[in-house]
């Protein structure tokens, strides 16, 4: 579904992505992990066409993303920080996106109902708290039932109930055979949602394995322990002292 081949990107002298090769299939829920500045957001933005790679190809359904913008109708994107026009109401923002995507006739409003957005639809975007804005972003990512979901730190700032609701929704969409790409620092939030883990470090793919494989290698059950174990082992290998 998504294939990334030899992707390189530098910002000035700083190399953000260094020869990234990845491919994601239907039904996969991939977690992009890595320290700050390891290139997670740059990968996401490259897939969305927001960042233009120096070289390398990203294909979605065998079509290069640089060719045309039509491919983005298959993507739902939830940004890390959602900022919306201050004086617009939630209702207007949702309307606006629906109008832009006039090709899409049926809407998935499960999250809008779940988060009870209807009750606050007349509120202006300026008056919303960070968490509520995040909820709106989540609703907008899912509303056109896209084949690919790209979620940048989806649960950051959400209250436990909403976070749980969103996770359920993600799991549900994954079962429908969608590709889901998540970045998150909260490893416990990814538990049970994610099928694969891609760990980035300094713009390179450090490892790309399924959760089962990782659990087998490390002998740990919990995701955060698994990751901690691998990183610890690696640190030991490179610097045994």
């Amino acid at each position: 579904m998504i294939s990334i081949e030899h992707l390189n990107k530098s910002f000035g002298r700083y190399k953000a992505l260094d020869d990234i090769n990845l491919s994601f299939k239907k039904g996969q829920a991939i977690s992009l992990l890595g320290p700050n500045g390891s290139g997670k957001t740059t990968i996401i933005k490259s897939i969305l066409g927001l960042v233009i790679p120096d070289n390398g190809v990203i294909k979605i359904n065998n079509e290069a993303v640089t060719a045309h913008h039509a491919y983005r109708s298959q993507i739902g994107y939830m940004p890390q920080i959602g900022r919306y026009p201050e004086n617009m109401t939630i209702e207007q923002v949702i309307h606006m996106l629906k109008e832009i995507r006039s090709d899409c006739k049926s809407y998935d409003e499960e999250l809008i109902e779940g988060f009870e957005i209807d009750k606050i639809r007349k509120k202006s975007m300026r008056s919303l708290s960070g968490g509520t804005t995040q909820k709106v972003s989540a609703c907008l990512a899912f509303i056109f039932s896209p084949e690919i979901l790209i979620l940048d730190e989806p649960t950051a700032g959400l209250d436990p109930v909403s976070s749980e609701l969103l996770k359920e929704k993600i799991a549900k969409e994954r079962q429908k055979g969608k590709v889901i790409l998540i970045t998150s620092h909260v490893l416990s939030d990814l538990e049970g949602i994610t099928s694969d883990i891609v760990y980035l470090q300094e713009g390179k793919v450090f490892f790309n394995k399924t959760v089962e494989e990782l659990q087998k290698i490390t002998g740990e059950e919990k995701l955060n322990k698994v990751i901690a174990r691998i990183l610890h082992d690696e640190a030991y290998k490179t610097n045994p002292a």
Partner: protein, 254 residues
């Protein structure tokens, strides 16, 4: 197109736009009712427009473009072309600034000093608004950092409203022994603020009294050709920044 509508929807409730309109309206009403000679009042309004419209237009637009950066990213994750999105955003902001000017200066001027002169003044202000918000778009396309962009915007506005005339003066004084009439017309075409000043002066009886460049244009081109020339140049000053910013923005990393 759809985006223009929503940008407008957001901006009509924007407080800065509202305050801008009210200040313009206050100024024009007081200036025009102060004196019996409305021509004088219109000239003062022209001076105010030439000074403030560029500054406010470019500064407000730049800030707005940068503040809606995240939303622009979100919209670009939809199947939308970059250039069309950028130009729609420009359209929305330019239209709302134009409305502010039309309401603040236009309506009082047409009521208190009806006639050709008021009409010309309005055209001047609207063209300046379009031009400087287009320059703001260019600044937005060029810069990644908001603070630097705001600095650049202020510099551009001050350059065209204040600095440029100073440089022109120096030029005129240092080459006063030569026939420099024609070069001066060409140089004036490099500044949208001067162009609109000339455009207005061409249509006022006081043109000859009001300055060197106005008289020069009248002498060299006559009112009609002068009007065509100034309007044409103003149009270019709107179109080239738009064209260039669309080009740059297409390759920009967001």
């Amino acid at each position: 197109m759809k985006i223009i509508k929503y940008v407008l929807l957001d901006l009509v409730r924007n407080k800065v736009i509202l305050v801008y309109t009210i200040i313009l309206a206050g100024l024009s009403i007081s200036l025009l009712s102060l004196d019996n000679n409305t021509s004088k009042g219109l000239l003062s309004l022209l001076d105010i427009s030439l000074l403030f419209v560029p500054l406010i237009s470019i500064l407000f637009s730049t800030i707005y473009f940068f503040n809606s950066m995240e939303f622009t990213e979100l919209l670009l994750a939809l199947p939308l072309g970059r250039s069309s999105l950028l130009l729609s955003e420009y359209g929305g902001i330019a239209i709302s600034l134009c409305i502010a000017y039309a309401v603040g200066i236009g309506v009082p001027a047409l009521f208190l000093a009806p006639g050709m002169e008021a009409f010309i003044l309005i055209i001047c202000g609207l063209l300046l608004t379009l031009c400087f918000s287009a320059l703001a778009l260019l600044v937005f396309a060029l810069f990644k950092d908001k603070t630097k962009a705001i600095g650049a915007s202020i510099f551009i506005a001050l350059f065209f409203t204040l600095l440029f005339d100073g440089l022109l003066m120096t030029f005129i004084f240092s080459f006063s022994d030569y026939p420099i009439d024609k070069p001066i017309v060409a140089i004036v075409a490099l500044n949208p603020v001067d162009l609109s000043r000339v455009f207005m002066l061409l249509h006022l009886d006081v043109a000859v009294l009001m300055g060197y460049s106005g008289a020069l244009f009248k002498k060299l081109l006559g009112t009609f050709a002068g009007t065509i020339f100034t309007i044409g140049c103003m149009m270019l000053w709107i179109l080239w920044p738009l064209w260039l910013s669309a080009r740059i923005f297409r390759r920009k990393d967001l």
